[in-house]
């Protein structure tokens, strides 16, 4: 790639100038990300802010407001803003310098350090960031085409920067992002109701945990709602819940059953509150046909939830795109082993429940029906899913025997027996045979 302007500076010509042009750099950067993920990356930053601001506490009072039209995208939050040092050293740099701890990026979901910039370039040709943090504030405005034209200048100048201001009240700290002069295709997508719906769904599932803690997210003035993850429980039905800590990561695993819903059955895996697997029924969560049977609709009640939490997001078992689990990481393999051995009793329960239908028994069905949907947070720790079957009453073992015979024969037998139903015909003819042929041994 020619970089004509620079050649003069390297007069010796003993080395080759391999620096990328900005054009090339931007193209590479945005190539692999889709539009929805770019917007999600920006929302992630706001959610990160909420985590830094409130730690493990509630997110009540915090909001992230998106406005999306075919002309612009704005995201407005009151989640703490970006400190000037973070902006200088991290938020606007390509790639991260130093350790995350240095900057106290507690429980951040954005550990790769390119998300925000990549999103800007993906979306439009002009972006503005206005931040009001605890003691700093700044505005940055970047017209991308101008910046691209200055090949040697990689800086984003502050339009305004104030440090060491008087302590700002929490409610007035926040970040406002605006992207305009949208790129080709982006405007069309942003104008499509269908795209907005997809984005809503994605945000809802990805940030379910944060929303359950009180974070209010809205798109074009419409608040997103989310349902709390739940499992059926009662005095006779006990979901499993294990807590494990390893290598600075806290893991919570819940397994049990919920309403029969084939689309919702499977495993849900979260990393620092972000959903990376949804209703998964693949080998990634153990459904490989050997350790656990392949998924089948009789498992439509199956639900499993895994929450990985760490102060250092690099320790979490997710891929760099944060959209999938890293199945080869030792941590994930260890947890998967636990997931698999926690699934077995649920699979057995659902298999038995399924067989009950055929035999007309209702023991497990009764247990399911009298249980209630409970939020995960109230479930007690318990190694394995279990249930208390009532003691079998009456004759301990019964077998069904059914047969088909020509209609006129069955009708004749029914009249002769005085039977009340076809089933009764079967019972009486069996009793007749048994009395005559099987009682003397």
């Amino acid at each position: 790639m020619a970089t004509g302007q620079h050649k003069a500076q390297k007069a010796e010509a003993e080395s080759i100038d391999a620096r990328p042009t900005k054009e090339f750099f931007i193209d590479m950067l945005v190539k692999d990300i889709d539009l929805k993920d770019a917007v999600l990356d920006l929302v992630d930053n706001s959610v990160d802010g909420a985590r830094r601001l409130r730690g493990d506490g509630t997110f009540q009072g915090l909001h992230v407001r998106l406005k999306i039209s075919d002309r612009a995208l704005t995201i407005d939050d009151n989640c703490g803003g970006i400190a000037a040092d973070v902006a200088i050293k991290y938020a606007f740099r390509f790639g991260r310098i130093g350790s995350a701890h240095e900057l106290d990026l507690i429980k951040s979901v954005g550990h790769v350090g390119v998300g925000m910039k990549r999103a800007f370039f993906k979306l439009g040709r002009k972006f503005e960031v206005a931040s009001r943090s605890e003691r700093d504030s700044f505005d940055v405005v970047v017209p991308v085409d101008d910046w691209k034209a200055r090949e040697d200048d990689w800086e984003f100048p502050f339009k305004r920067l104030q440090r060491n201001e008087p302590l700002r009240a929490e409610a007035s700290r926040g970040t406002r992002i605006k992207v305009t002069e949208l790129r080709d295709g982006v405007a069309a997508m942003f104008g499509s109701a269908r795209f907005i719906t997809q984005l809503e769904n994605e945000i809802r599932s990805t940030h379910q945990a944060a929303m359950q803690r009180g974070l209010a997210i809205s798109i074009n003035g419409i608040a997103l709602t989310t349902e709390e993850s739940r499992l059926l429980a009662s005095d006779h039905l006990h979901p499993a819940f294990r807590e494990v800590s390893a290598n600075g990561v806290d893991v919570k695993i819940y397994v049990g059953i919920d309403a029969s819903a084939p689309r919702e059955a499977g495993w849900y895996v979260y990393c620092n509150g972000r959903m990376v697997l949804e209703a998964d029924r693949t080998a990634a969560t153990g459904w490989d046909g050997t350790r656990v049977p392949n998924y089948h609709n009789q498992f439509a009640r199956f639900r499993g939830y895994v929450f990985f939490e760490s102060d250092d997001p690099a320790r979490l078992p997710w891929t760099t795109t944060k959209s999938d689990v890293d199945v080869d990481s030792p941590l994930y393999r260890g947890i998967l082993q636990q997931m698999v051995n926690m699934m077995r009793p649920v699979i057995d329960f659902l298999n038995t429940l399924d067989k009950e239908k055929e035999s007309g028994k209702t023991v497990l069905d009764g247990i399911v029906n009298e249980s209630r949907s409970m939020p995960l947070a109230v479930l007690p720790e318990r190694e394995a899913f279990g249930f208390d079957a009532p003691r079998p009453s009456g004759p301990p073992m019964q077998r069904i025997s059914s047969y088909m015979r020509p209609r006129h024969q069955v009708e004749a037998a029914k009249r002769r027996l005085g039977a009340t139903s076809y089933r009764n015909v079967g019972e009486l003819t069996f009793d007749y045979y048994y009395e005559n042929e099987c009682t003397e041994q």
Binding site: N247, R333, G334, I335
Partner: protein, 316 residues
């Protein structure tokens, strides 16, 4: 081959009895990890509970769980329960093992009659994925080859169907499954499953306290059907001292690799045994008496004389 000494005595299962005593002797050495009476025993007691009686009497284990898959005739099993401390959990082992508590050091003997299959391997994975350090697990499976047929592939196909194609090493051929070959391959598959379970589990462990597995048992015996018992101890890497002081390697039947210990119980009369016993244990390579008994039989006896079963008819 001298068949008069080899005739299998299926109803009495002498080799199985010998193995049971050997296992018990090995279990007794776990005391370096914790007093044995604090261990829990998990086994398949069936209606006889022979292993339960032995472990309770000899080792003082009093937390015992018998897994019984026969759901019908529960009454018989409950009736034959030898001690109050034996709990019977009805159900398939794949269903029962997950509901047991694994916070306690355990001696586990999964004594299947079946050929190796994926249910058995699921149990293996489950147990090794959860068991406390300082615990011992033994797995017994039927390793008798299917009947030979000309040009047939059923031994290999049967194995693949049972355990899943991906678990059978690619180098295994039909001809590798004859005689004791099925036992060798079964051991390799179980061993791999154990190591994988331990490796997965270590994903959650900090360096310095990772789990380790050391094979102790690789028995072969045939009271009719060829049987394989494989297993060993699970410990943490910081416990290698305790492991060393157990001195498992001093036990003549302990095998830590793919070389098996063969239990072969020759049929000898009481007088013959007395005569052989008087020269045992041997001091070096001296000749044993009774040279009309083939060398092989006498050697086999020397390997198991301390565990040789004595049968007598009594009026109870």
């Amino acid at each position: 081959m001298s068949s008069q000494y080899e005739t299998p005595n299926y109803p009495l299962r002498p080799a199985k009895r010998v193995q049971r005593k050997m296992l018990c002797e090995a279990f007794a050495r776990l005391g370096q990890f914790a007093p044995l009476n604090r261990y829990r025993y998990v086994g398949f007691g069936a209606a006889y509970f022979t292993d339960f009686i032995l472990l309770h009497k000899v080792l003082g284990v009093h937390d015992m769980v018998s897994i019984e898959r026969e759901a019908e005739g529960r009454g018989r099993f409950l009736f034959n329960r030898p001690y109050r401390c034996v709990e019977i959990e009805f159900g398939k082992s794949t269903a029962v093992l997950p509901r047991l508590c694994w916070q306690k050091r355990s001696i586990v003997w999964l004594d299947y009659n079946d050929r190796l299959d994926d249910d058995i391997l699921e149990d293996v994975t489950h147990v090794f994925g959860r068991i406390h350090d300082g615990s011992v697990v033994a797995i017994t499976v039927n390793a008798h080859p299917l009947p030979w047929r000309p040009g047939g592939k059923e031994r290999l196909e049967d194995l693949r169907n049972r355990v899943g194609k991906h678990r059978v090493p690619g180098r295994v051929k039909q001809s590798d499954l004859r005689e004791w070959g099925t036992a060798s391959v079964s051991r390799a598959i179980i061993d791999e499953e154990i190591k994988r379970a331990i490796a997965d589990r270590n994903g959650l462990r900090p360096a310095g306290s990772r789990f380790m597995y050391k094979q102790l048992f690789n028995f072969r015996y045939a009271d009719g059907q060829r049987m394989l018992t494989v297993g060993g101890i699970v410990y943490r890497e910081d416990q290698s001292r305790a492991l060393a002081s157990c001195g498992f390697e001093d036990l003549s039947f302990v095998r830590t690799d793919e070389q098996p210990f063969e239990i072969y119980v020759p049929n000898l009369t009481y007088l013959e045994r007395r005569a052989l016993d008087s020269g045992l244990p041997r001091d070096g390579a001296e000749q044993m008496p009774l040279d009309w008994i083939p060398e092989r039989e006498r050697e086999a006896y020397a390997r198991c004389y301390r565990y040789y079963p004595t049968f007598a008819e009594t009026e109870l």
